[in-house]
């Protein structure tokens, strides 16, 4: 079989692309897998998947990982200490349970309700909302699912009328 130079170049390019895609499989920068699973479970209760996509579909955990490895490095210790306290509360409420992720949905809600005033919960809540609604370039809000929930457009240009009331008569 004769391989032209052009075919050879193409084949190499395809092979390189395949390698790149494999190595681009998402890996956590700051989280270990066990911690990520716990935070992911919390985020899933804060913005659940129901009739519309939630934190899971939006890839919120990837946003939080990047934030903690980058701009919000100063929150790492809060995540460590806060999660330890949350685990202690879990053991107290549900003796014998193994992890937040392994609790039932109702148990998870009971646990988060018990810690919702804590700084750690407030931080995870804010990070979850940020990961759901920030520009996808930050790692979350995949497919713009957060913006879709809010109904907020991100067009560069709108023309009036903008809403129902300015379209339907003046004051």
């Amino acid at each position: 079989m004769h391989v032209t130079r052009r075919e050879w170049v193409l084949a190499v390019a395809c092979w390189a692309e395949l390698l790149r895609a494999q190595s681009a499989e998402e890996r956590y920068v700051w989280f270990d897998a066990a911690t990520a699973a716990e935070i992911k479970a919390m985020a899933a209760r804060i913005i659940p998947e129901d009739d519309t996509p939630g934190a899971e579909s939006a890839g919120v955990i990837w946003f939080i990982d990047r934030a903690l490895a980058g701009h919000d490095q100063d929150k790492q210790s809060l995540y460590r200490s806060g999660l330890a306290e949350a685990q202690a509360k879990r053991t107290e409420l549900f003796p014998g349970s193994a992890s937040i992720a392994s609790l039932s949905v109702d148990q998870q809600i009971a646990l988060l309700t018990a810690i919702e005033k804590a700084e750690f919960f407030q931080q995870v809540r804010l990070h979850t909302i940020m990961g759901f609604l920030s520009d996808p370039l930050h790692g979350g809000n995949r497919g713009g699912v957060g913006w879709k929930l809010m109904g907020s457009g991100h067009e560069m240009h709108y023309d009036p009328p903008f809403g129902f009331y300015d379209a339907n008569g003046s004051a």
């Binding site: 209760r45 804060i46 913005i47 659940p48 129901d50 519309t52 939630g54 701009h71 809600i109 988060l112 919702e116 809540r125 804010l126 909302i129 940020m130 759901f132 609604l133 920030s134 520009d135 370039l137 930050h138 957060g146 913006w147 929930l149 809010m150 109904g151 907020s152 457009g153 991100h154 067009e155 560069m156 240009h157 709108y158 023309d159 009036p160 009328p161 903008f162 809403g163 129902f164 009331y165 300015d166 379209a167 008569g169 003046s170 004051a171």
Partner: protein, 550 residues
Amino acid sequence: MSALFTPTDEVDFVVIGAGAAGGVMAKELSDGGFRVVVLEQGPWRRPKDFTHDELTVMYRAGLTNDPRKQPNTFRKTPQQQAVKQQAVEYGCMVGGGSVHFTSNYWRFHPEDFRERSVLGSIPGADLRDWPISYDDLEPYYTKAEWDLGISGLGGSNPFDGPRSRPYPLPPMPVKSSGVLFERGAKKLGLHPFPAPLAVLSQPYQGRAACIHCGFCESFGCEVGAKSSTLAALIPMAVKSGRCEIRPDSYARKIEVGNDGRVRGATYFDRQGREVFQRAKAVVVCANGAETPRLLLMSKSNLFPQGLANSSGTVGKYLMFDNGALVMGVCDHPLNEYKSVVVTRVLHDFYRSDPKRGFYGGGGIDARFDYYPIAFASDAMPKDTPQWGSEWKRSVGEYYTHMIGALGHTSCLAVEQNSVSLDEQVKDAWGLPALRITFQNHPDDMKAMLFIAERQKEILTAAGARKVWVDPSTVTETTYSRHLMGSCRMGDDPRSSVVNKWNRAHDVPNLFLVDGSSLVTSARQQPTATIQALAYRAADHIQQAAKRGEI
């Protein structure tokens, strides 16, 4: 831009700060034939550098002073130990706050300049008349409106002072919030009017009109339609061939000669090197917090308590922005995420009325200026769930259906409310941190709550089906973007820092031109007044310079 001047060139003016006032000074002085170097601590962004990225702009100080590099400390009273806490926020870039402001462009009312004469003294505050009147400033309000490009309808606000010219551009198209606000206000017998806004409703002087993208307040305009000094004036200053803008240049000291005159300014350049720029005169336009800080850092043998501070009032009488936000949910979508923030305003409760039993009042505008992250995290009524399925459904249902009314209420000048240096905390350049001491006068809280009730009535009359006050906005003020009154203007050198031409009483070739000169805070929205003062000062400075009187 390439350098026009070297630090050893003695230029005519060094302007410190390229914001709302500094941009005016840069353009006016260079147009007038003077050689000007403008030192700006922030970067020089172009329209293409601005984004719709809420996280970076709103939560990571994308366009504003970065508290990680420039920490503030805060305390309510001088007796307390100040703690690290961000207390002031300002646009940190060429164009300054005029780049990211909401663009409300209200003139102060004639009585704002003489409230002391009208109302008498207020216990616990130092209410004073201005050394100038509305009539003195009127020609410069007009000049600012026409130079920058302001959209509005002259004569539509029955409480405004007389004006010599209409606005150069018609008002922006009314939004749903404006329609409902006007409907509710008229039912109550009030006088809503189209918002005067520093945004182009039509193309103007080679600039494009607004395309209603919606990322307006807190963001920079990607098409240059917001009438910032960056879009409207800086290009003219540069075109003069006599003005050099030096971004990333952080002023640390104004230098004084043995004759008591200033000789120029020392700043850190982008690489952190100290540079001294010589100048015949210095104009400080660094804002109501950074201007007094720079003066206090510019101590010398001749001025041991800080430059231009023989009165001891540099930094004192700081005034902040007050006002509650009231929100409501409507039956149909308003889609307030589109276009400019404000299209209707009313001033019916602006004037202070002694019958109310307290000083102050406020203007109210129709707006719903929450971006998605802030709305979801902060704005929902606190007696409803803050996470989970029910909360998620409400957030999604409400966002496009929200209306708001924001109060812009009075803030009295109180001596102990101040900017000072915190020697215990240093910024990234090793300079003492900005320490804010601030506690609202009791009348400021009363005025805020009084106006919040009026806001609720208007939104209820407008047909909102659920109305609530954003709880975070009615607490004691500890944080502000409107930085006013810390180097007050006055005739008496014992109680004020600059004279009625914005010239320092103590130093003949030093001018302070920004929010720090304001004697009273009126009802917020100070940008138009800051810029009118800048045009007036520029006029005076040029005439004085030509007569050899600087």
